[in-house]
């Protein structure tokens, strides 16, 4: 074996050792690319799924965004219209405000005028109040006088009541006396003549003109209290001498009353008297008294001779 062969064997052996060591080192320290590939593939699939999911979510969000955008556009349109309305209202309110400001300025002048008028009214009120005080004082004085007058009026009213009572009593006595006098005068063929009163009759609460007329018509002192003749005349229509009774031709219609006395005459001669005991409308019956001649039918009768 030559030296060159030996050298080549040694070089080949060492180069083989060196190359094999490098290869082993490289292969031992090499990464597992298949695993890396698988992991990267899985990551890529997951990323694709995430992408799809994200795209789907994006689409949903996009749709929601579009819907929200539509709603917001509608709201914006509504708000724009409201803003226009508010602008119109604002314009009208501004006009109203201007008018009110003008009115305020006018009212200010009115208030100033009213203030002056109020001052004047206050002065007038003070004057009127002073006058009122005077009037109240006068009213108090008048009230005192009125109270005194009322008291005196009450006293006079009490006197008037007493006088009224006395007047009623006197009137009753008068009626009674007139009845007695009539009974006394009737047989004599006389009746009471009402005297004309000197004092006129004045009632309560009569007008003044009536009082004056009553006074004017009264005949002061024109008459006296007295009697007058009854003045009844008639004829005897039947005679019953047996019963001393006779019937005359006048009755109640002519004014004949019971107990009235008639004188019977014949040719200016006294015959007798007849006292009436029964009275009819057109005739009467009486008893014969003081008979001097026998009465006959046709004799004249009269209440007064």
């Amino acid at each position: 074996m030559s030296a060159l062969t030996k050298i080549l064997i040694i070089l080949l052996a060492f180069s083989s050792f060196f190359l094999c060591g490098i290869v082993v080192t490289y292969v031992a320290t090499e990464d597992n690319y298949k695993e890396k590939y698988d992991s990267q593939r899985k990551r890529a699939q997951v990323a694709i799924a995430d992408k799809n999911r994200a795209e789907k979510l994006l689409e949903e969000r996009k749709n929601a965004y579009e819907q929200q955008e539509d709603k917001l556009n509608a709201k914006i349109a509504l708000l724009v219209s409201e803003a226009k309305d508010i602008g119109n209202k604002l314009t009208s309110e501004q006009r109203t405000n201007a008018n009110l400001l003008k009115s305020v300025s006018d009212m200010t002048s009115v208030v100033e005028t009213s203030d002056q008028t109020a001052q004047l009214q206050t002065q007038l009120f003070k004057d009127a109040q002073a006058k009122l005080q005077l009037a109240l004082a006068k009213q108090e004085k008048d009230q005192r006088e009125l109270d005194e007058l009322s008291k005196s009026l009450m006293q006079k009213m009490a006197i008037i009541d007493d006088l009224e009572i006395q007047k009623k009593r006197l009137a009753e006595e008068k009626v009674e006396l007139q009845a007695k006098l009539a009974n006394f005068l009737q047989p004599a063929g006389k009746v009471i003549v009402e005297p004309l009163l000197v004092t006129p009759k004045i009632g309560f609460a009569q007008p003044v003109d009536i009082r004056i007329r009553n006074i004017g018509t009264s005949d002061v002192g024109a008459g006296d209290v007295g009697t007058r003749d009854i003045g009844l005349h008639g004829l005897i229509t039947d005679v019953k001498m047996k019963h001393s009774m006779a019937q005359i031709s006048i009755g109640i219609a002519h004014g004949v009353k019971e107990n009235m006395k008639f004188y019977v005459t014949r040719d200016s001669k006294f015959v007798c008297e007849i006292r009436i005991i029964d009275v009819d409308n057109e005739k009467s019956v009486g008893l014969l008294e003081r008979v001097e001649l026998e009465p006959r039918v046709g004799d004249t009768i009269a209440t007064n001779l």
């Binding site: 074996m1 064997i9 040694i10 080949l12 052996a13 190359l19 094999c20 290869v23 082993v24 298949k34």
Partner: protein
């Protein structure tokens, strides 16, 4: 090459055993490396000579 070694017994006889051992060792190292690479490829990619299809 040594001519004396080639003629012994009609067989090829190593002229120097040392160099033969070195060659054998080199051969074993190369073979072990090839086996290691093959095993490693098979474990990692499932194949030895072809490109793995995902």
């Amino acid at each position: 090459m040594n001519a004396a070694a080639q003629n012994r017994g009609g067989k090829i006889v190593a002229a120097n055993n040392l160099y033969t051992a070195i060659l054998a060792l080199a051969f074993l190292v190369v073979a072990a490396t090839a086996a290691f690479v093959a095993v490693k490829c098979h474990l990692q990619y499932g194949t030895i000579f072809t490109i793995p299809i995902p």
